[in-house]
């Protein structure tokens, strides 16, 4: 088995291996640069993993004795990690004297100090797949003291990002053929996406969600390209189920799965009875996953399934289609004459697609300079113009690849539409105080972003394309290193 794995590694494309090595290095650097519990909602994600691993049950979203275990809460308090969250004026307790104090506290903890974080935990409405997977290494490394255990768990969680990179490589191969530089560009920009790299250094469900959605996208593309074999249908529906069981936002894969099945049927015209059987198989996979999760939630903590963004789907009364469309318009553009002002704070594409997609680390308080964000906005705008031009010039090629293109467009539109809808609903429900969505929620689409860049660059004459591709990777390197540097400086200098 090991020999086969090693042989497989020897046959792995060398550019991909190199990308994975430097991506792993980045994740390691992020793990060090970000003190414990300083990722977005990291304490809550860790507490979910810990409670599940220690007791076999998830924490409750509404009730319980404490959101964090005594062990985690003591670390948050005694190492000044709670006051550090989001406060640029704060620093962790970072001296050797602080560490000695923490060791004394750790030694005096009573039995059961790891298992009493029963809730209320805001992340407890998430489905359990990520937490169940992370509970395995938690049990393996339970003998380590908390800070070391958390460090190791973060490293293990970063493997999901490496998986996303490999899957993007495979997607690029499926779409552009075995053109190595295109595969390298696509996988490289994913590896160098600073927000994704940052998230890989913390405990967060987003790591698995991004990988699951990317894997689903690959399976859906192969399904429409090669036809609806039983294996491909099972793979696509299984991965959609996995995304659904990872985070509520994974539900966006379900309509895309339906579209992929419809396209596969139109393009490959399989036997009707066989196709119906496969559609039923896909539906059964999804329904089974949702039923299992719903039953698990009812039994374990007596609440309804899914939370967070999904709970906004039907919350907040007063839905108005005109107001919703106006809200979406004003997210991107200045209001047209006669439009009512958008509800909520001044929050638009710049905040979601630029600032919090490329940047904002820690708990949103660590940022690139405004010049960086300005440059990224200009480059992203140029990229969009380039993409439009490439689509216009190569429409025949796109037309020929319509099944895969439609699947990718469906993924994009469904995801963005979902985010706009839940944001609007949330704003209705919370009186316009919190738009709920952030650029981190776009990370499951990171492979689409990388493929769009590769398609646009790949539409240029080869020499120019290769040079521009290299320039984009260089920009990624600079952003990546700068992000790690400013984060380390914010927390430790």
């Amino acid at each position: 088995m090991l020999r086969r794995s090693l042989r497989g590694l020897r046959h792995a494309p060398r550019p991909l291996v190199v990308i994975l090595i430097f991506a792993a290095l980045e994740s390691l650097a992020w793990d060090i640069a970000t003190p414990a519990f300083q990722g977005p909602d990291e304490a809550a994600h860790f507490s979910y993993v810990q409670h599940l691993a220690e007791t076999g049950a998830p924490p409750s979203p509404n009730t319980g004795t404490a959101p964090n275990s005594t062990e985690a809460q003591d670390a948050l308090d005694w190492l000044n990690l709670t006051s550090l969250v989001g406060d640029l004026g704060a620093r962790p307790a970072w001296t050797a004297a602080d560490l000695s104090l923490w060791h004394r506290i750790e030694r005096q903890m009573p039995a059961g100090s790891r298992a009493n974080g029963s809730g209320p935990n805001a992340q407890a409405k998430n489905p359990p797949l990520y937490y169940a997977l992370m509970a395995i290494p938690y049990r393996v490394f339970v003998w380590l003291p908390l800070l070391k255990r958390l460090f190791v768990l973060r490293l293990i969680s970063s493997f999901f990002r490496l998986g996303t990179i490999v899957l993007t490589w495979l997607l690029a191969g499926a779409l552009f053929g075995q053109v190595r530089w295109k595969q390298t560009l696509a996988a490289g920009v994913v590896a160098l996406q600073p927000k994704l790299a940052f998230m890989s250094g913390v405990i967060s469900v987003d790591n698995l969600l991004t990988m699951a959605v990317t894997a689903f996208l690959l399976a859906a593309v192969l399904l429409v390209q090669r036809g609806p074999s039983r294996g491909r249908v099972l793979a696509a529906s299984g991965l959609a189920a996995a995304a659904t069981l990872t985070q509520g936002r994974g539900l966006v894969t379900v309509p895309v799965l339906a579209i992929a099945l419809a396209i596969a049927w139109i393009k490959h015209r399989p036997d009707v009875r066989a196709m119906v059987a496969r559609v039923l198989m896909a539906a059964a996979t999804i329904v089974a996953a949702v039923l299992v999760y719903t039953a698990f939630t009812r039994v374990s903590n007596g609440t309804s399934a899914f939370g967070g963004q999904v709970s906004q789907l039907n919350s907040g009364g007063g839905f108005n289609i005109g107001q919703f469309l106006s809200s979406v318009w004003q997210f991107y553009f200045t209001p047209l004459p006669g439009m009512q002002p958008r509800i909520g704070p001044a929050y638009g594409f710049r905040q979601v697609f630029i600032w919090t997609f490329y940047g904002t680390f820690g708990s949103l308080e660590v940022n690139f300079s405004s010049q960086f964000y300005g440059a990224l906005q200009v480059l992203s705008g140029l990229g969009l113009v380039g993409l439009y031009t490439a689509c216009a010039l190569r429409w025949r090629r796109l037309w020929a690849a319509w099944p895969a293109v439609t699947v990718m467009l469906a993924m994009l539109v469904t995801s963005i539409g979902f985010l706009h809808y839940v944001s609007y609903r949330a704003l209705l429900g919370n009186g316009g105080s919190d738009p709920l969505i952030t650029g981190r929620y776009l990370l499951p689409l990171v492979s689409l972003w990388a493929l769009a860049i590769t398609f646009t660059i790949g539409s240029l004459p080869r020499r120019a394309a290769v040079v521009l591709g290299a320039v984009i990777l260089v920009i990624g390197v600079i952003l990546s290193l700068d992000a790690i540097g400013i984060t380390a400086a914010r927390f430790y200098a």
Binding site: V18, P92, A96, D98, L481
Partner: protein
């Protein structure tokens, strides 16, 4: 015998792109990253009690009274203490004299703020503990005849671990206190201190020497790895297309 000369005209696309990418990375490094490495004013040596994130609280210490924060780490690198004080009752003659007394086993330092100040943030020199950081107390003593107000926080999310008492009575919240290091030090020293802090937050799992090693490997390995991956990809494409690597 003539030495071989590198002729750019004989380089293949892969080599040219790799060389240009390395040049761009080095240039980008200087333009974008080097500003972070330039030393500026004092650096933070420790923040036992940060200010509030959204709302500032004021704690009033009566005349001849004191407010004490315990479990305060006094960093051996500190040579300045920073806090904010205001007149509890504004007077033309300014605020009362205040002492900041730092104490820990084997260590004691007093910082005196003379009376007559208008109010605001003050940064004053302190004598740091010798050799190593210590856990101790920070007491603000009003040695004048009118009360003084000190800025801090009562926000749950920014209250730190230091319990506070005013005249011996426990009070929820913290007076904001930071220690700074104003000494001019070589960049390597500052980076070493930063890496020591990072290492401590991994509970020593990654010792400072390993943080150094990882930092060096990342700073060199990510750019070189990126260039190498792209170079290898171009070479593989050239080989697959049957074109000579240098042509």
């Amino acid at each position: 015998m003539r030495r071989p000369v590198l002729d750019p005209r004989k380089l293949g696309l892969a080599e040219l792109v790799a060389a240009a990418a390395i040049a761009l990375i080095v240039g980008g490094w200087f333009v974008f990253l080097s500003p972070h490495l330039r030393g500026g004013g004092p650096v933070v040596a420790g923040v036992p009690d940060p200010p509030g994130l959204f709302v500032a609280a004021e704690f009033t210490v009566p005349a001849h009274g004191q407010a004490c924060l315990s479990a305060v780490t006094i960093d051996a690198d500190s040579d300045l203490a920073q806090f904010a004080l205001w007149q509890a009752k504004p007077r033309a003659s300014g605020g009362p004299p205040v002492d900041l007394v730092l104490s820990a086993p084997g260590y004691r330092a007093i910082v005196h703020v003379p009376g007559g100040w208008p109010g605001g943030s003050v940064t004053l020199p302190i004598k740091p503990p010798a050799h190593k950081s210590r856990l101790g107390m920070a007491c603000f003593r009003d040695v004048g005849s009118v009360p003084v107000a000190l800025t801090g926080t009562t926000e749950t999310r920014t209250v730190s671990r230091s319990p506070m008492a005013i005249n011996g009575q426990g009070v929820y919240g913290d007076i904001a206190l930071a220690f700074l290091d104003s000494r001019k030090r070589p960049l390597a020293d500052e980076i070493a201190t930063t890496f020591d802090h990072a290492s401590n937050l991994t509970d020593g799992l990654v010792p400072p020497a390993l943080v150094w090693l990882i930092a060096i490997v990342v700073v060199l390995g990510v750019p070189l790895g990126c260039v190498a991956a792209f170079y290898l990809a171009l070479r593989e494409d050239e080989q697959a297309a049957g074109t000579p690597p240098s042509g």
